[in-house]
Structures are given as C-alpha cells and as structure tokens.
Symmetry: C2
Subunit: 492 residues, 2 copies
Amino acid sequence: MKFIDSTLNEVDASVKLSEKAFQGYKTIDAKKRAAFLRAIADEIEALGNELMTTAMRETNLPEGRIIGERGRTTGQCRMYANLIEEGSWVEARIDTALPDRLPVPKPDIRKMLVPLGPVVVFGAANFPLAYSTAGGDTISALAAGCTVIVKAHPAHPATSALVAGAIENARIKEDIPTNVFIHLYGADFQVGKALVEHSLVKAVGFTGSFAGGKALFDLANKRPTPIPVFAEMSSINPIVLLPNALESDAENWAQKLASSLTLNVGQFCTSPGLLIGIKDEHLDKFIAALTKAIEGVLPGDMLHSGISSNYSRKAAQALSQPSVTKLSKPEQELVSQQGTPILASVPASEFLKNPLLEEEVFGPFALIVECRDKDQMVSVIEYLQGQLTATVIGNADELIHNKDVINLISQKAGRLIVNGVPTGVEVCPSMNHGGPFPASSDSRFTSVGIDAIKRFVRPLAFQNFPQSLLPKELQDENPLAVWRLFNNEWRK
Amino acid sequence: MKFIDSTLNEVDASVKLSEKAFQGYKTIDAKKRAAFLRAIADEIEALGNELMTTAMRETNLPEGRIIGERGRTTGQCRMYANLIEEGSWVEARIDTALPDRLPVPKPDIRKMLVPLGPVVVFGAANFPLAYSTAGGDTISALAAGCTVIVKAHPAHPATSALVAGAIENARIKEDIPTNVFIHLYGADFQVGKALVEHSLVKAVGFTGSFAGGKALFDLANKRPTPIPVFAEMSSINPIVLLPNALESDAENWAQKLASSLTLNVGQFCTSPGLLIGIKDEHLDKFIAALTKAIEGVLPGDMLHSGISSNYSRKAAQALSQPSVTKLSKPEQELVSQQGTPILASVPASEFLKNPLLEEEVFGPFALIVECRDKDQMVSVIEYLQGQLTATVIGNADELIHNKDVINLISQKAGRLIVNGVPTGVEVCPSMNHGGPFPASSDSRFTSVGIDAIKRFVRPLAFQNFPQSLLPKELQDENPLAVWRLFNNEWRK
C-alpha cells in the first residue's frame, strides 16, 4: 500500500475545512463530545487483530507492548470523556454585578476556558498509538473542542490509517461534523511546515526529536501571528546515585536500571541516559553489576532503520569523545535494524567540558558520570539542561541529608522520582510529562494526564451578558453542575 | 534627580543575585510571602502624598486617577496575598500507589505548581502604579515564589524609585532575602535586551506597544533556551453597533462611547478605537451625536511627549488614507503634549483593503467602519486581528438574532462585553486581560486577576517521595488545608 504526501494545495484546503468544522464543533455540548471520544475508543478496540499486527509490523514493537499501548490509548479517550462530561475543568469564575458600588458600579463578569481552534498534531515514532493519531495530543484537543489535523508519522502510516478510520467511524456514529478530524500524509518536511505556517492553525502538538520540535517551534514563532507549540523533545533523564544506597544495594539498582534503560530497546523519551555517581568502591561495584546486566540483554530490533542508524551514529559519536570509556563488550555483528545496549563512563571534569556528551542518544545507551566528590556532583547537576525526569537514588537518611541536591535537580526536570525508574509514564491527574527546555518547548504544560487539555484552550471573559447568550457553564442556574469560583467562593 | 542606566555588567550581576535569592525565596512559606505582599501595600500607602505628586508630575494623570490606581495596586497586593495564603491555586493533585496493580504496580505520584525562577518585568507608561514597578506582573510573580527584576519605565523613573523603595522597606520588615526584588534603570533598549537574553532569567512580563512587546518576544524565542514572554501589546477594541440599538438609543450610546474613548486622553489599552456599524439613518444619527460629544471634550495632556507625538503621527497617518473622512472639527493649536479627540469614518470596503487602518492609534482616536449590510459587517469582523476586548451593542432581540456575530467576534478577543464599554478593567477572578495575538503574545494567560499567577509557574511531579521531602501542599496530612484532587476526587 502506498501513502502519498498531501500537496500544499491539499494542506491549505484541509486547514480551511478544519476551521469551518471548528465553527460547529466548538458549540457542541460536552456530553456529545464525550460520546465521540468514547466511540473512538470503541472503534479502536473494534479494529482488533488487524491493528495489532499492523502496528507490530511497522514498529518492531512486541505484542505485549502494543496491547498495553492500545489500552493506554483507549483509556485516555475515556479519561478525557469523563473529564469534559464532569465539566469543572473549564475553570469557571463568576463575579456578579455591584451596581451601587462607588465610585463606579461593578459589572457582571464571568470567565471560562474555550478552545483555540484547529490544532495540528505530529505523532511520535515510538508510540504508534498512545502518542500518535488518536494519542494524547489529538484526544485532549478534541476534548477541548478544537478540531485536529494529524500528519501521520511516516514510520507507521498503515497503523495511522487504521486509527484514522476508527476516528472517522466514531465521528459518523456520533453525528459529529465532517472534518473535525483530518488525516494527512507528509513524509516530506514541506507538508508539516505548511501546516504549522497556515494562518488558520491555532496550536501545534509534537512528540519527537529536538531537531524536529525546535524547527516547528521556530516556524510557529516566526509567523506573522505566532501560535503556541507544545513540543516534547529531548531528555537524557539523569539518575543521581547517592553513595549509601550503592553500598547497601548496588546489585538491586543495577538490575532495575538495566531493565529500565534497555526496555523496548531504550526507545522511551524517559529512558535513563545519564547516571551520576561519586567515584568510590561502591560505585565501582554498581558499575560492574550494571555492565554485566546490560551485556546480558540481547540486541533488539529498533523502530525503523532511521532510528537504528541514528542510534549507531550518536552512540559512536559519544564513545569517540575524549576520556569516554566503553564499559560494555564490543557489539556482535548486528542484523539490520538492531540496537545493542551500550554503557560508557566519563569523568565529571570531562563531562562538564563537552556539550556533546549531554546530547540524547535515543536508544539503549547510558553514560555514567563519575564525580570526584559531592561538590562536583552538584556542579554536574547545575550544568544540566532541562529534563523530562530526574531521579535520585538514596537511603532514607542520605535523602534527608541531600535535600540541597534534590532542591537543585528539581529546577531541571518536570518529574522527580525517588528510588524508582523514570520509564513508565502513568496516565493520571498528577502526571507531568514535560519539563524545562529542551525537554519541552513550554514547561508550563504537560502532554500527559487531564491537564494536557490546558494546552489548547484560552480564557474568555463575558461582561454584562444576558443569561441566554452565556455558555451553560456560566449561567446562573449552573445546569451542568460544574465547580465554579462564585464571588470568590467555590460552589457547585 | 538623575536616573542612570545600568551597565551590562550590572545587569549580569543583578540577574545572578536574583537567581541566588530565588534559591531561598522559593522555599519560603506562603504565609511569609503573603505577609511580604501585604507589607508592600502598606509601604506604598505610607508613601502618602509624595507618591501622588510624583506620579502626577511624571504622567500628567489627574489626582483622582492616581488615587484610584494606587488603590488598585495595593488591592492587587492583598488579593495575591489572600490567594497564596489560602493555597489551593497550586493545583495539587495526588494519586496514591497501587502496589498490587497488574501488570505493573502504580507508583505514588503527586503534582503541584512551582515557581519558574527570576522574572523580568517591564512596566507600562500608562499605569505608573498598577501595571508598573509593584504592578500585577511583579506582584503575581512574587506571589508565585519567583524573584523579580523590574526595569523602571523611563517615563516615570521617580515614581518607580519611590515604589521600589517601598518594596525594599517591606522586604526588610518581613525579613525576606535580599535581592528578591531588584530595580534597574534602562532607558536604552540594550538594558532590556540584556535582561531578556540572560540565561538565568526564566520569564518576562511586559505591557506596552506592539513594537516593544514583539521585539522582546522575538529575543526570548531566539535564546538558546527560549523562555515564555507574556506581552500585553496592541488592541483597537472593536465595538459592533447593531441597528436597533442605535434606532432606539443613539444619543445614549454616543455619550457613553465618547466618555470611554476620551477617558484619560484615550490612554488605555482597552480604549475603543474601532466602531463597526451598518450604514443607515440611525448610524448617521449616532455618528452626528458622537461627533458632537467628542468635539465637546477638551484636549488633555498626554503621558509624555513621546506618546503625544506618536499620537499625532499615527492619527495623521490614518486620516491620510484613501476614503477616510475626518468627522470631528480641525484641531485647535495644541499646547506641547496635548492630544485632541479625533473621530473619523471609512467605508468597510476600504477598511478591508488597508491594514494600516487596523493599527492602534494610542490616544483618543476612533474610526467608524461603515458597512453596507450585515454580510459586510461579518466580513469586517472576520478580518480583524486579535483584541483584548470586543463589544456588541444591541437590543435584547437583536442580540439573540446576532448570535452568529457574537460567536464570530468571540474568536477575536479575550473579553466580550455586551451593552457596555471596554474601558475599566475590573480586578477580579473572572477578569481576562489578554487575548489572541497581537493583543497579547500568549492568549492562554491573563495579566489581571488571580489567574495571572499561572504565567510564572510550571507543574512539577513527585514520584515515590517520602513524606518529609514533599512540599506541605502534597503531604498526606494536608497541613495547609488546600483543595486537592485526591485519587480523582476533590478534597480539602
């Protein structure tokens, strides 16, 4: 099957159709939008085995992983459906009039969040379902009342086509306006560029490489009318290893971290790529155990040949830097798209001099930074760029004594983990998936969990409006029974 | 008195001090921060008459206006103090662990909003107190736990110095770390540029011209590490005049709009600069009444000579465009900094062809766009750029029949007004002061009201954290008694 790139004329026509659809979709009741999202989940499940085999064929991901990801995708649809059906997420605030106030009367003002307009979504290569065609960006935007144009990821076009078909079936079943969701192909960068630059597009969601996300961010900011881009990009997810934890538990942490960093051939944006420890006998013991554990993991097929060749190239680049020592055994002859887990180490003094060593090596690669002492460890943490996650491993007492370290690293990441691994992004209200640049383009938002909907809305205030012209969420009688800040008091 | 620009070395040193102060300030209890904000209000009031006379001298604003603005400024300090003392604004979410969940256990995750870091604030010329040194940007950032560097507006340096002194007194009285607030002078653009480009600065607040705000926005996005800029910039605040309202009430609306657009010599960002009506006898009657009312308003002193010469230039430019008719009488000889109210009209067909006519003329200037019919009125609304406000004036019935017009214009503005005037920005939870570009650089945020604090914070998730290392807002016992989403349920 062939997937043909949209022409620039088709891009223009699609955005115009999306904008037209937005005019209808934004006024549709939340209940109806919720039914649409649930129908999308049902239709994805109805694709059954065909979706499984297609996604596995296009991504080399194992069946268990695809099944899990499908559950996550349909779970997200139902989570946003529940959120908008309940309705309080619109942050309704009502301040009633004080006509007798002096020196001037106070008018009646009410405010809530409203959708921005057509949103362009670029799916991720490594999550063909949960961060792709019907992934978190698409579903949170549709939940908000935005229309969505997805540019299918060129690495899994058939999977994307199947999911797009499911969304279209759901749309028809639930009688949602045509073109609320539009699916385009664009292996060529020109298609994505034209979408981001189109004057009727109001926001962009992206998950992928730093180069890709930053390019879209720059395009969006250079428009005559800039638009927000939420790009989830690059992270090496540092792990700080405190000495006592290694003394008492080196073997256990070596096993856990080896599993985390080699899971799905290291193709997670939260894969731990940087381990920071203080050079002593316990770190040596930990390194020996981790090296052994990693050497025991077989090379696996990566998502596609572009990813695997990029992995080889970036890993080789890191390994060729001054004072970097490769710890794991030389690679075997690899079959085409495989990626071998690699562990390397570097003295902190060298790490602090060489920005190349902070670049993400997407795949099962980790670099251990060996620090002379705690002061140098602090310098390494201070030096780090923004991250999706940061992890601290330590015994109960030493965590308390290293509050300064935790405080410092908290400024570098969107999610902090104590004595755990960063892989495994729970979909729940408390999740934050995002972080200081370059982890994401705007640390003020998350791309996972209910709050991801906030990326695609803006507040709109209504002053002196007659009841009949107000959205239901702001009417006196509160027909949707949402939580509202009513004259400075929470009411339902 | 002379106010000397900071050198670039002083800028660098100031930002470093601000960052150092942030490390302490961000961990200070909200109660203590609240006391600091209240002390700022007290100290501003304690400046008494000196602040009044200085601000009046530097801005030409009348005493009543300065008194009102001082009340608004101190009111904002106390409003944010109340907000952070209550504490629920941090959007705490807690999801407790499910260690027995299959296929993988669910970890304990908690999330809240945390401050970004040092914030640079550029005050507004037209609000020497409420949008300036201790204005909404500064106080909401301090409330959030950010440190602040204010670049004093060169048009009112002495006022700014007095207020900076009040903040410093409050800081000392409440035992807040040194350099939490830093005050710099920088009439030269290089000072502002160096502040926005400094790697330790994490966000920018700005109120002023489009040229100024856009320049800072571009600088911030071109940094190696881009940062968010909230710039409140340019708006002509369209008023849609529906025919029946003019038929029944032309004289009344003419009076109200004349007052609104000439208030304080039109120097409000919400001043109504564009009136859109359908050409008929009622519009003619309204125009005649508005012309007469505006001619009855005496020229007033503008904020400073730069503003008045800019007003003359921009008004002359608009009046010289094809088919623009000046309706108000020729100006008298003006004394140096005065601005005369000016009313002009243009056929919609011309307005739609000439982008110069959509540019803000900051001052008491309004352009009436005369439409052939409702279709053409819709075209004019569709054509408009983003605005802070949009107003619709109509009788009860015709408002209902013009839902399409209200729906359309709602996409163009941050605040909609029915049968009122856009000037007068209430400080209350429901206020939205911001709007689609170019009204502001990010329509997802407001710069007035409690939600303005959201510009300077980001979510941070804590996974598997021991209780003693969690912020109080996220501890099991909820010692601050804030509202939290606890396992998907609101609890306090």
